[in-house]
């Protein structure tokens, strides 16, 4: 007899298999999250299906999408013009709805290297690239990138010459930013797919560059 058999609930209440609570501590806020989800579903605020669809959708959002868009822009001037104008429109062109929050592209050039931070919280183009990495949300990154960007970039293995302007963008308001890295040398004749593989998540944030290795 399972422990579920004698507590009253309808078939619509979600008791999903939760691998993350099988091991590790059950914390108060994990319990809070589950409780809030169940209450909101009981009240008809949203459905279990909507929850599932939202989680599945976010699982499909990843830096590789940004990589594809950058590669396409490197190869097609018209697409690049669209990308530089409106990343959300450019992502719709490749069948991805990045959502309602406006995302803008900032282009690296031989003279300017861009890096994005959100000092106040952790704003990031999630609707396109998925969840930001822990370090992006960390105290160290949020505090230091604005005043010692070159030192932070060195910690990521990137050193830029003095002649290149390092431009830090603090994403404080309604816009989200994605860096368009420069196309690496030695990629003449590469396919869009091959070019996309040179674009890492870190190069879309600006702590790295697109690389062939």
């Amino acid at each position: 007899m399972s422990p579920h058999d004698d507590h009253p609930h309808s078939h619509d209440e979600p008791h999903p298999f939760q691998p993350d609570i099988e091991d590790g501590p059950i914390t108060p806020r994990m319990v809070m999250a589950q409780a809030v989800e169940e209450l909101l579903i009981e009240k008809g605020i949203f459905t279990a299906d909507e929850m599932r669809a939202q989680i599945e959708m976010m699982d499909t959002r990843e830096p590789a999408i940004g990589g594809r868009m950058v590669a396409k822009a490197w190869l097609d001037p018209a697409y690049k013009e669209l990308l530089m104008r409106d990343v959300n429109a450019a992502s719709l062109e490749i069948g991805i709805d990045a959502g309602g929050i406006p995302i803008r592209a900032i282009e690296n050039t031989p003279d300017v290297h861009n890096v994005v931070v959100c000092t106040l919280c952790s704003c990031y183009p999630r609707g396109l690239l998925g969840f930001p990495p822990d370090w992006y949300k960390s105290r160290a990154y949020r505090s230091r990138t604005v005043y010692e960007p070159r030192k932070v970039l060195e910690e990521f293995g990137l050193t830029l010459p003095d002649g290149v302007e390092v431009r830090v963008h603090d994403s404080t308001a309604d816009m989200r930013y994605m860096v368009i890295p420069m196309r690496p040398d030695g990629t003449d004749g590469w396919s869009e797919e091959q070019l996309a593989s040179t674009v890492s998540r870190d190069s879309l944030i600006g702590v790295s560059v697109a690389k062939t290795n």
Binding site: T119, L120, V146, Y147, E148, P149, R150, K151, D162, G163, E165, V166, R167, V168, H169, D170, S171, T172, A173, D174, M175
Partner: protein
């Protein structure tokens, strides 16, 4: 209708006020002088939205560029390094 007060190229300073409450102008940029790079459009004021007031009042939002050496007295990088912050109009004044 919200006509932006500032245009690209305008020199502006960020108000040096420090209220508590929900503000999207970072502490480190208050009182600093920069140049408007672009006008992003008008958006609902986060300082109102944060408290549940959705009265639709919109404020023009600007990308403002600052020279790092102007922001940090001990900036340890090249003179051409910059910092760009998105700032709502009511936090900006014309150059002092």
């Amino acid at each position: 209708m919200n006509t932006p007060r500032f245009a690209p190229g305008d020199v502006v300073s960020v108000r040096a006020d420090h209220p508590p409450g929900h503000v999207r102008t970072p502490y480190f940029i208050r009182g600093r002088e920069g140049v408007v790079q672009s006008v992003l459009g008008a958006f609902e004021n986060p300082e109102e939205l944060a408290y549940g007031r959705r009265n639709g009042e919109e404020k023009p939002l600007y990308r403002v560029t600052f020279t790092q050496a102007d922001v940090w007295p001990r900036y340890d990088g090249p003179a051409n390094d910059t910092l760009v912050v998105d700032i709502y109009e009511h936090w900006l004044e014309p150059r002092s």
